[in-house]
């Protein structure tokens, strides 16, 4: 035994590891002891964590009217009024659908590009008729008209069937005066997105030569599919009315600028004077939704 101890302590590294393991064990054991204090020896031993809990979701349909705002927009901001319908067979699980139509406004980057790279340069439609280097080099990438209307990709609508989990229920004291029921939900599902992107030019999506990009600035419709996942924080000031906020991610690849960024060179990371599927870039597409909800039927159940 002594030899074992000596062997164990022979290395300074091992000493540190032993101390670290002891420390972690102490942390773990003390955390366990705290939980036992309530569950085994306290006056609430055997009692449920929550009594008399109002079941805001169980057996009810949640109708939420809201507006979604996209985050980290590069060229256009999207405001998406929409609706969410969810039926909850239990208080912790629901099945539903969310969707909306988008309204857009340009970012300051788009406005700057329009003013300085398009309007101020006043490049001719045919780049071969000018000696301006910038006009020649941007002939594939910049319209001579309206940037937002001619080439910027846009989200038109989106819809997502989704399942919702509500693992956390709680209550909130606001200013120690107002009290409100609250819960945190997680949702995921497949999403369908209606897009408008710059129409392929130079080479189409099958790599077949088509109209040169310098003469093609128009949008075409595309349907994209993506997973969607998010987290919601909901509040219930009454038994049938609520409000809340959600963060949603909808990762998929699309070409939001209409630029030719890829297609040639190593890893196709250089421009190829064509705009097509190779120029789509992966984005998380983050968005935040605020909503007001109604839970039907109005009557609410309560746990024991």
């Amino acid at each position: 035994m002594r030899r074992f101890v000596n062997s164990l302590c022979a290395s300074q590294l091992r000493k540190g590891m032993v101390a670290a393991v002891l420390g972690l064990a102490a942390l773990a054991s003390s955390a366990e002891a705290e939980a036992q204090e309530i569950q085994l020896t306290g006056p609430l031993a055997g009692a449920p964590a929550v009594r008399g809990m109002r079941l805001h979701r169980a057996g009810r349909i949640d109708v939420a009217l809201g507006s979604t705002f996209t985050l980290l927009d590069e060229y256009q901001r999207n405001i998406i009024p929409g609706l969410r319908l969810t039926y909850h067979p239990t208080d912790w699980f629901g099945v539903g659908v969310w969707g909306g139509f988008s309204f857009r406004s340009t970012t300051s980057l788009t406005d700057e590009l329009q003013a300085k790279a398009i309007d101020a340069r006043a490049c001719p439609a045919d780049p071969t008729t000018t000696d301006n280097t910038a006009c020649k080099l941007t002939a594939v990438n910049l319209t001579r008209g309206n940037l937002a209307e001619d080439q910027l990709g846009r989200i038109v609508w989106m819809a997502a069937p989704q399942i919702t989990f509500v693992p956390f229920r709680g209550k909130l004291a606001l200013f120690s005066a107002a009290f409100i029921d609250t819960d945190i939900s997680f949702f995921l599902g497949p999403a369908v997105i209606g897009l408008q992107e710059r129409k392929p030019c130079g080479k189409d999506n099958n790599d077949q030569t088509t109209t040169p990009c310098s003469g093609s600035f128009e949008l075409e419709n595309r349907i994209a599919f993506a997973p969607t996942v998010g987290i919601g924080w909901n509040f219930y000031p009454t038994t049938f009315l609520g409000f809340g906020a959600e963060y949603r991610a909808m990762p998929f690849a699309w070409n939001s600028s209409g630029f030719d960024n890829a297609g040639a060179g190593n890893n196709e990371a250089f421009p190829d004077t064509a705009v097509n599927y190779k120029d789509r870039q992966f984005r998380v597409n983050s968005m935040v939704t605020v909503n007001i909800s109604v839970q039907l039927p109005i009557k609410i159940k309560t746990t024991e």
Partner: protein, 333 residues
């Protein structure tokens, strides 16, 4: 060997800390039976204090002297019945309907006995922040926040971020510049420091899976400080180099803190550092000065004539350690 001792001391300290942090009130001692002659008088008819007890037939509750014990109002136990047997005149009477109508002014809280008191405690929060609103340059930064709680909901403190060497222009910046043949003025940061005022308007608890409970709070903060920034030369990098300069900045934010025990919490915060930033001049001065030096090399021509209001919005995630680790409740709630 010294390392081993230090390690064991650390382990012992870790073991002791959470025990002290539990800070549960001592378990109530079982009530001792009252000694004879030490009995406490209980007035069971408080609502009618100062008034004569109503006659039994008027209330319909006071039994006659020889009434059976079972009819004693409120006679759940045999105690009252025994009193009535021994001395009918001392038999208490309670009008249950009237008693039920008495106003009750019980003071109840949605969250009884706050799990983690903050009053007069120091909060240390190391965190890491990432940029939320700058697509051109990322400004990730480690940071530290120190708060001292004047009351349970108000604190004063300082925080700082260290950006130096971590700024990185994005691929998006490169692609936009290449595609449109434009130079987008960009800046990088070295550090910032702020004095803050924090307010905790909301606290609550969540039941997870209806099985366990955890506590959390929400806070907002505002402050003033300084941030050191400089432009990254994009338009004329051959001639222009910039040095960091501190600028006045304002800080506004809010966050959520989830407590794992009474002194350790995970924190997620959204902070906006607002300041007027100097950007690189998009124009290059032409000509030469009196000494025949190109005007493009004159530092006074390198900056744009106007400053730009900049919001550096950061998402910050870290953990909080509250000191001291334990406390005692002085109030029943």
């Amino acid at each position: 060997m010294n390392q081993s001792r230090v390690g064991l001391l650390v382990a012992a300290a870790l073991m002791a800390m959470p025990l002290a942090a539990a800070a549960q009130p001592k378990a109530a001692q079982p009530a001792q039976p009252a000694a004879k002659g030490d009995s406490k008088e209980i007035n069971l008819d408080e609502g009618a204090e100062g008034q004569e007890a109503p006659a039994g037939d008027q209330t319909g509750t006071e039994p006659a002297g020889d009434a059976p014990v079972e009819e004693t109002p409120g006679g759940e136990g045999e105690g009252l019945g025994d009193i009535c047997k021994i001395d009918p005149s001392a038999c208490p009477s309670i009008n249950m309907e009237e008693a039920a109508k008495r106003p009750i002014n019980a003071e109840m809280y949605a969250v009884q006995q706050i799990y983690a008191l903050r009053y007069h405690r120091v909060e240390l929060t190391p965190y890491f922040g990432i940029t939320m609103n700058d697509q051109f340059v990322a400004h990730p930064s480690p940071g530290l926040s120190i708060n001292w709680y004047i009351t349970n909901v108000m604190a004063i403190g300082v925080n700082g971020n260290f950006y130096l060497g971590l700024n990185s222009p994005s691929n998006f910046n490169f692609q936009t510049s290449r595609a449109a043949r434009v130079g987008v003025p960009i800046t990088e940061y070295a550090w910032n420091a702020n004095a803050n005022f924090t307010y905790v308007p909301a606290y609550g608890k969540f039941a997870g899976f209806s099985d366990f409970i955890f506590h959390w709070d929400f806070y907002v903060l505002g402050g003033v400080g300084a941030i050191a920034t400089r432009p990254i030369a994009v338009v004329d990098p051959d001639n222009r180099t910039f040095s960091y300069k501190p600028r006045l900045s304002f800080h506004a934010g809010g966050g959520v803190r989830i407590f794992f025990n009474r002194w350790f919490a995970v924190v997620a915060e959204l902070s906006d550092y607002i300041f007027f930033d100097e950007l690189e001049n998009p124009s290059i001065a032409e000509g030469r000065d009196a000494n025949n030096r190109p005007n493009a090399q004159n530092p006074s021509t390198w900056l744009a004539p106007e400053t730009e209001l900049t919001n550096n919005v950061q998402a910050q995630v870290g953990f909080s350690v509250f000191l001291p680790f334990s406390w005692e409740y002085r109030l029943p709630k």
